[in-house]
């Protein structure tokens, strides 16, 4: 197993546990979807998996090595993260933001070289943001910003990509683009992808496996076709839905029908 979480628990302050005794294994080359209602612990789990949060109990291992023993720099070379939204304080250009993804590959006093530049250009290219490189990040639209942030994560050249609701702010055109990009990364570079989302159809289209979260705990986990079922959706969201295989799309689709 590439990334393995054993009995993770975490609570913010003295509140109820945001993640409660979660265990999961992510195989190399998998595309894993984290789904569950708002406040079910998806974001917290993503932060635990990349070591930004330290679990109160349990541990995360990367190739069998506990995250806690790895330096931030070493970790960043393996795992890149795309958060829900990114706010940038100063007027950085899109290219400058993407180049920041190279931090973990550079010495403390080394400047980016041609190699880093080509990684950054390639990342801009594959997210369709090459034309925006000289634009200031703050002036971009929500979809453009998110794609630039994804480009910055790609420039990190890591083999694991964690994305926290990356398409929430995007229209279906860009949702499609992002999903296609993630699929392509997975096929062409073997990138392992963990993506949390509220979009069940996107999850059905993209993910080979799903982890269903409810109130900080794992409700079900397994191949998408096994766990994306009407009873599970009712359990998660309290919605009666029809889950059917769509022959032209080639994956399951979820149509909500009534409050369950």
């Amino acid at each position: 197993m590439l990334l393995h979480a054993a009995n993770l628990s975490f609570a913010y302050g003295r509140g109820a546990p945001a993640v409660d005794d979660v265990s999961l294994s992510i195989a190399s080359g998998a595309i894993v979807g984290l789904i569950g209602p708002n406040g079910s612990g998806k974001t917290t789990l993503v932060r635990l998996l990349n070591g930004t949060l330290t679990p109160a109990r349990g541990s995360v291992t990367l190739d069998g090595v506990p995250l806690a023993t790895l330096s931030r720099r070493a970790l960043a070379r393996r795992i890149a993260v795309v958060p829900q939204e990114t706010q940038v304080t100063f007027d950085f250009t899109a290219l400058e933001i993407v180049l920041m993804g190279r931090y973990a590959h550079l010495g403390p006093f080394t400047l980016e070289g041609p190699d880093d530049m080509s990684h950054a250009r390639q990342a801009l290219e594959s997210t369709g943001t090459a034309a925006l490189e000289a634009r200031q990040f703050a002036t971009l639209s929500g979809g453009e910003k998110q794609r630039v942030v994804i480009a910055s994560a790609l420039a990190q050249s890591s083999d694991i990509l964690l994305l926290d609701e990356p398409t929430t702010a995007l229209d279906i055109g860009f949702q499609w683009e992002i999903a296609a990009l993630l699929g392509r990364l997975n096929v062409e570079h073997g990138t392992t992808i963990v993506v949390s989302t509220h979009d069940l159809n996107l999850a059905a289209m993209l993910c080979t496996e799903l982890v269903l979260m409810k109130a900080g705990r794992v409700l079900a986990t397994g191949p998408t076709r096994d766990v994306l079922t009407a009873p599970n959706i009712r359990e998660l969201y309290g919605i009666d839905a029809e889950v059917a295989f769509h022959p032209r799309a080639g994956h399951l689709t979820v149509v909500p029908l009534a409050r369950g």
Binding site: A76, V81, P83, T86, T89, D91, L111
Partner: protein, 331 residues
Amino acid sequence: MRRRIVLTLAGFGVLTLVACVLAPLVGSTSISLWRVFDRSIPFADNTDAQVFFVARLPRVVAAAIVGAGLALSGVVFQALLRNPLASPDTLGVSAGATLGAMLALTAHADFVLLGVSVVPLTSFAGAVGSLAIVFVLLLARRRGTSSTVLLLGGIAIAALLNAVGRFIQYMSNVTDTFRTVQWLMGSLDVGSYAPILASLVPMGLACAGFATLPRVLDLISLGEDAAEARGVNVAAAERIALISASLSAGAAVSLGGPILFVGIIVPHIVRLIVGADHRLVLPASALFGASFLVVCDLIARTIVAPVEMPVGIVTAIIGGPFFLWLLFRGR
């Protein structure tokens, strides 16, 4: 990138050098630059060189150090708190330094310790002390306090320290009050090189810390989580940044008094010129802060000569409109 760094350093470096060489030439006695550097005349007979090096240069060097120190700490505070309003003034460091100086002045504790007067020492302690409070607040942020709250905390600390300072001032006699008011207005008339040399110790330490920071500050401006995910050890960087910024702000304020405005405005002016990358912003701010304060002090001591205007008034009168112009000019 290398070219941009070299060009930026060269440009701002020349500006600073020109300011520091030309400023001592101006004053009540006019001197000639050629005579100052004429090696054929022995120093004891070269009055121009004496005026230049003994009477005027210390003040110019002090202005440069104070300007650089305030600007550097402003850059770091703004980046660290991810807030354009952060500065040594808004975080209470000037208030802490002022209180420290006031206590020494009203207690008549202006004896000399290790060649340095006690007033700058107590003001340095006040500056670093008030930043220690900020530091504790920042650590508390780990438990969910936003940078806005931190900034408001700084403002509250500043208000509190200022109130204590005013109370001391109110209770003290007229002579002491006059001296504290004078100190409060900020003055770069250091008199000799001794206080400058003393300030170089904390400034040197601060600069060693700053040297490790530029790229880290860039990444922190994406957010702490984003910076960590890209490989930055944010907690360690925050510690280095706060300690360095406290040392440089403390050194600056203890040398020149609480000269407002430089710490908040110089970083913004520099960002409008060189962009957001801290590998450019940090050194350029040091150099621009130095030359800005040298020029402001030159104006302060000449514009209503033979009377001197407090340099803090000049920094605000020149800096304010210049900053507004930069903000509102068409891009």
